[in-house]
Symmetry: C2
Subunit: 323 residues, 2 copies
């Protein structure tokens, strides 16, 4: 099943079910006004949404206008971002010149969840000096998860899979890491690709809690990376169980993989600029690639071997925030 | 003005205006069903709530039953906790045996905001081995704050002041700090004292964005500390401006002071166990005080010199979470 959200002037938007070919949609209706309310009562919502998906495959629905789509869940009570790709963690240690991180636990910070930007929304920053960087990630949305679940139990709470651009301001990242308190200034609002899918929709590309798809990233219309999500050192179910060690996870909690990265980065490229800079430091002793400028664009799309695009594309421009 | 929230089975509860003497209340009514909705439209809500406060002083209203009160804002989109008391930061460095922290910026992490516990609610943990600790703090609730505000501008967005117990699990804190990513396991849900007050309600006790009140803390009915909030190295307006450096702050964002601590800790005691342990390490080379056990209670109340209690009391018991 594929879900999206139409911007309607309300903070949570209007929930849509999208046809398998991505061309048509049906509004979920007043009983399921938005994705957050649906995920809060998923046992009841899921069959209603599946019934609409059947109607769509029977030809019902209206044309889906991608330009009207917000993030599939425009806000949530909780966003926890992991860093589960060991290749990325190793390279970032070089980029940031930091100590080796504790390898025992999955890394995770809590980020801003009151607003997720839509897939085509301009992304506004006050200045370029922050070191504007994209981070291509996958993520999951869970229903209510009780404290202390096992990874196997956590897997049953993964209701939707999403694709995320976790915008980062690198100039703030290292000083904030040095505090030990995590990221506030370095992590403004994320963007989310238009379609949230149930794990079954990914077929063989959903394996052991990992999204085994290439994440194609283009910066200013040039291919920057196409790393595959399969190399997570822990699966999403393990990230969910980790997050729930000492807290109940509220329904609608979104949990991210961290930047997608592969061991053969020389071949597939990177999913963020900072990681490419680390690779340049390894090769040349110094970074060559600068961060983003106002007017730059970034496009992210995860594609199957057959060319299908389960999450749709993030395609955004970085702009100067008006005072 | 003094506001509280009555538990009514809904996640946000029912907003109440409380009389100056704390004995009576009036429901804010269906136009202002809860505090989060009021803070989202404060310009409209404030005069309506003030009119109810006038009615209360004229004798209207019903008896306030403290046992029915939830946290004044039972959930929010964002909770950012600072660490603004230098004495506490210095002592925690000894307790945790960590490096001196970057002194340039106020320390801040993003914590769990989907649930704030009520002032008399039992606080459940899976086991005692987490190192259960309380942290007495003050906090503020802001309306919508645009990215890039100055501290002076930020001051105008501070609408309410609260008193918080930021529950901490110390066994997780140091490993999580070492990741640089901040606290997930070490920081479960906070508790909040029953009354949220407008800054003017604090009179001379609100100075330069600081709550200049003694925070009296009793652990198992013995006085543990009564540090005063005036020694924040930066005021709340500066914490708000810091938080808003690269993000718009959503209305209802709650920002904490961090553990209240004073230079004369030998006299006034501490607001968390971990800090007392640091003082013991300085004195004796090792900590003597253990963390909390199931069945333990903690009471926190901020009192004026005249004995008034603007926030009311947090009075809770730690219990074992049922599987």
């Amino acid at each position: 099943m594929r879900l999206a959200t139409r911007a309607n002037g309300k903070p949570d938007g209007e929930l849509l079910v999208v046809s398998a070919d991505g061309t048509r949609c049906l509004a979920a209706g007043p009983q399921l006004p938005n994705l957050l309310s649906a995920i809060e009562d998923w046992a009841s919502a899921q069959p209603q949404l599946e019934a609409l998906a059947v109607q769509l495959e029977d030809g019902a629905g209206e044309r889906l206008d991608e330009a009207t789509l917000a993030a599939p869940m425009p806000r949530s009570w909780q966003w926890l971002d992991g860093s589960a790709f060991q290749t990325h963690a190793d390279l970032m240690q070089i980029a940031f010149d930091t100590e080796p991180l504790n390898p025992v636990r999955p890394l995770m910070y809590q980020g801003m969840s009151d607003r997720f930007l839509g897939p085509r929304e301009d992304v506004a920053f006050l200045d370029e000096a922050g070191g504007i960087d994209f981070e291509g990630e996958f993520g999951v949305i869970v229903d209510a998860v009780p404290m202390g679940v096992s990874p196997a139990e956590a897997m049953q709470h993964i209701r939707l899979v999403v694709q995320i651009n976790d915008w980062s301001l690198r100039a703030y990242a290292v000083p904030e890491m040095h505090t030990g308190f995590g990221f506030i200034l370095a992590k403004p609002a994320c963007s989310v690709a238009p379609i949230a899918v149930t794990p079954d929709e990914l077929g063989a590309s959903w394996q052991d809690g990992r999204v085994c798809l290439d994440l194609q990233i283009d910066w200013n219309d040039e291919r920057f990376g196409s790393a595959n999500g399969r190399e997570m050192s822990v699966g999403f179910h393990e990230l969910v169980a980790h997050a729930a060690t000492t807290r109940d996870l509220v329904a609608g909690t979104m949990i991210g993989s961290g930047t997608v990265a592969n061991r053969d980065y020389a071949e597939v490229g990177s999913s963020c600029i900072s990681e490419r800079r680390a690779i340049e430091i390894i090769a040349n002793g110094k970074p060559d690639t600068g961060f983003m400028h106002f007017g730059d664009t970034v496009r992210m799309e995860a594609c199957t071997a057959e060319g299908a695009s389960p999450f749709g594309a993030i395609d955004q421009r970085v702009v100067a925030r008006q005072a």
